[in-house]
């Protein structure tokens, strides 16, 4: 069994590696995106201030707190004050304010935007005779480039896994190569394992090279363990490859496969937090995003890269990825079909 898996695995690797156009696209696209974004967002390009508010909007008397009507400030309700304080430390929130209880606000003294938005808060608060208590939170800013890097790598991994497996299997089925394999002693599970292994190795290798290259060339942030990040990449790639196999299990048309894969790709790319955080989005959207493996890949990898999180901090995401992989692979193997008939 192993030699048959290795034979198909090796052949698929050679086929991909020698397809220079696809190979170049897989490497150049994320590098070009990173370079472009680095130029565009390397400085502080945002013009808007973001302030976290501990209370829900309907719990606050806006007349007593005219600060909430300040222009050019985006107010975001936060569920967890601890998480919000960490964001103040990272400069992701310019200020955090609690209008109930002790009437307190938190600001990062090294944040220029925090300085200005604090001035606005104190000025408006003084108009109503408020008495807000100030707390300082230290921490370095996280550049958008640091934040978006896992998103770009995840997106690249998503395209590579879904199309590199799903689309290719459909092509194999349509042109009769699967039928030819069926006439050999190869079992469906052996074929599937070989495809998963091949794409896994290639995707992880490419992703690792790009991450290290970007880290070295652009000095992007890495606060956590490389091994933990590799584990996330591994589980994430398995789940995405398995998803591609499930889509390709029975489809016989490349056009249909492309449509189905795009139907998965685009919502996943928009809702999983590749380009921007979903914090401002509605709860429904945030919950819906949890059905995508990419969401868990990005949540976990950002936690490792930006916060130095360990496995204990991200175990939920890892467990979800493992579960998704098992379910997708089981369904893919169950419904797999060699020929178009």
């Amino acid at each position: 069994m192993l030699k048959r898996i290795l034979a198909i695995f090796k052949a698929r690797n050679l086929e991909f590696i020698r397809d220079r156009g696809t190979m170049a696209w897989n490497i150049l696209l994320p590098i070009a995106l990173m370079a472009g974004l680095s130029l565009a967002f390397g400085g502080d390009g945002r013009t808007q201030y973001t302030v976290g508010v501990v209370q829900q909007a309907d719990e606050i008397d806006r007349e007593q707190h005219p600060f909430l009507s300040t222009q050019y400030v985006r107010f975001v309700t936060v569920d967890d004050a601890g998480t919000a304080m960490r964001k103040v430390a990272r400069h992701q929130l310019d200020l955090l304010v609690d209008f109930e209880g002790g009437e307190e606000y938190w600001v990062n003294p090294s944040s220029p935007k925090g300085y200005f938005v604090e001035l606005a808060l104190l000025q408006t608060d003084s108009l109503v005779g408020g008495n807000l208590q100030k707390s300082e939170i230290d921490g370095d800013a996280i550049d958008y480039v640091d934040w978006v890097l896992p998103g770009i790598l995840g997106m690249n991994m998503m395209f590579s896994c879904l199309f590199g497996v799903g689309y290719v299997v459909v092509r194999y089925r349509k042109n009769g190569f699967l039928k030819r394999l069926r006439a050999t002693p190869v079992r469906p599970l052996e074929f599937i394992i070989a495809q998963v292994a091949s794409r896994l190795i290639l995707t992880l290798t490419i992703t690792t090279i790009i991450f290290i290259g970007t880290h070295w060339a652009l000095g992007t942030r890495m606060d956590g363990s490389y091994l933990t990040l590799l584990l996330i990449g591994f589980l994430g790639a398995v789940s995405l490859v398995a998803m591609g196999l499930l889509v390709a299990a029975r489809v016989t048309s490349e056009e249909l496969a492309g449509g189905l894969l795009n139907m998965i790709n685009w919502p996943m790319m928009l809702l999983s937090g590749v380009w921007f955080s979903l914090e401002g989005a509605g709860q429904f959207v945030q919950n819906a995003a949890k059905i995508f493996p990419l969401t868990h890949i990005l949540d976990a990898s950002r936690a490792v890269i930006l916060d130095g999180a360990g496995i204990a901090d991200i175990w939920v995401s890892l467990a979800v990825l493992i579960t998704m992989s098992v379910v997708f692979l089981a369904l893919g193997a169950r419904f797999f079909r060699w020929d178009p008939a």
Partner: protein
């Protein structure tokens, strides 16, 4: 107990109450194969057996059901009903290990060389032939480093045959292997098939080229509309049906009715045929009815004539 050599259709009449006994007489046996699709019955209760070491031809026009029949036997298309026996057992894993298959159309992986492809396929089997022998037999020596996609038609067919041989098969399926090849490449391929058969390998060949079947096959079965309509060794089938030679006349060379002369008119081909054992006598009777006595052809009956007689339509239509 031995069935007559031309027993394929007759095999359906053999008492099949003891299937194992009958199945063991053949390297491969199809029993009551049926394949139906919503709008067509592609294979209609087909049964036949193939003895060890022979080249067996399954003939018929496009759409006759021969490829579907063979793919059911190969195990790549499920039958609606019926069974396939290999060496007396229901064909299963052992059959997959010992069968070599050349499909009519097979795409190979892109960016792989001939050698890499051969090694990949060889590794899928426990039973393996020496690659050097296959490369030599199929004349692939100079093509080993070439990309699969850059082979000519003849080279590609030799390559696909080589893939079918990588497991040292005991039975080889060749599905229309020479379609699209030029005459020289076809003849080279025939020689290759004959060499394989000389090594004792059983060959199942599907083709719509009657000359190919006549050259290569020890036994044939002719299919039409999903059924086997004749079977046996080609020469015996022809001798049984045709006593003598055929005089072939273009229709436009015939002046009037050929009254008193037994003949058949084939409108599709624009000819009139007279089967006779007395060539001089027939020619003298025909002469008064012809515009030009030189515009005639005398030939032996062939498998295409047989097919025409059995089905009423040409193989090419």
């Amino acid at each position: 107990m031995e069935l007559p050599r031309h027993s394929l259709v007759r095999a359906n009449c053999v008492n099949l109450a003891a299937p194992t006994l009958v199945a063991r007489m053949f390297a491969l046996e199809a029993r009551n194969l049926v394949k139906s699709y919503p709008d067509v019955l592609a294979v209609d209760n087909v049964s036949f057996g193939v003895r060890e070491g022979i080249c067996f031809g399954l003939l018929g026009p496009n759409g006759a059901g021969k490829t579907t029949t063979v793919e059911i036997i190969e195990g790549v298309t499920p039958a609606t009903s019926g069974e396939v026996y290999y060496q007396g057992e229901i064909a299963g894993r052992r059959f997959r290990e010992e069968a070599g298959i050349q499909f009519q159309n097979t795409a190979l992986q892109d960016n792989l060389t001939v050698m890499e492809t051969l090694i990949m396929f060889q590794t899928l089997y426990d039973r393996q032939a020496r690659l050097d022998d296959i490369i030599e037999a199929c004349s692939l020596g100079e093509l080993l480093a070439r990309d699969n996609r850059k082979l000519s038609g003849g080279q590609r067919q030799r390559m696909l045959l080589a893939i079918a041989l990588v497991n040292k098969p005991r039975v080889v399926f060749l599905d229309e292997p020479t379609t699209g090849l030029d005459p020289q490449a076809r003849r080279n391929f025939w020689q290759l098939v004959q060499r394989i058969q000389n090594d004792g390998t059983t060959i199942i060949l599907t083709t719509h080229y009657m000359d190919e079947a006549h050259v290569l096959c020890d036994e044939i079965a002719i299919m039409d509309e999903g059924r086997i309509i004749a079977s046996g060794p080609p020469d015996e089938l022809l001798q049984e049906r045709y006593k003598g030679l055929i005089i072939e006349l273009p229709i436009d060379n015939v002046k009037d009715e050929l009254a008193g002369i037994e003949h058949q008119t084939i409108e599709d081909l624009g000819i009139v045929e007279v089967l006779t054992e007395d060539i001089p006598g027939s020619l003298s009777r025909l002469s008064p009815h012809l515009f030009d006595a030189n515009r005639i052809k005398i030939r032996q009956a062939n498998l295409e004539d047989l097919f025409l007689d059995l089905t009423g339509h040409s193989l090419r239509t």
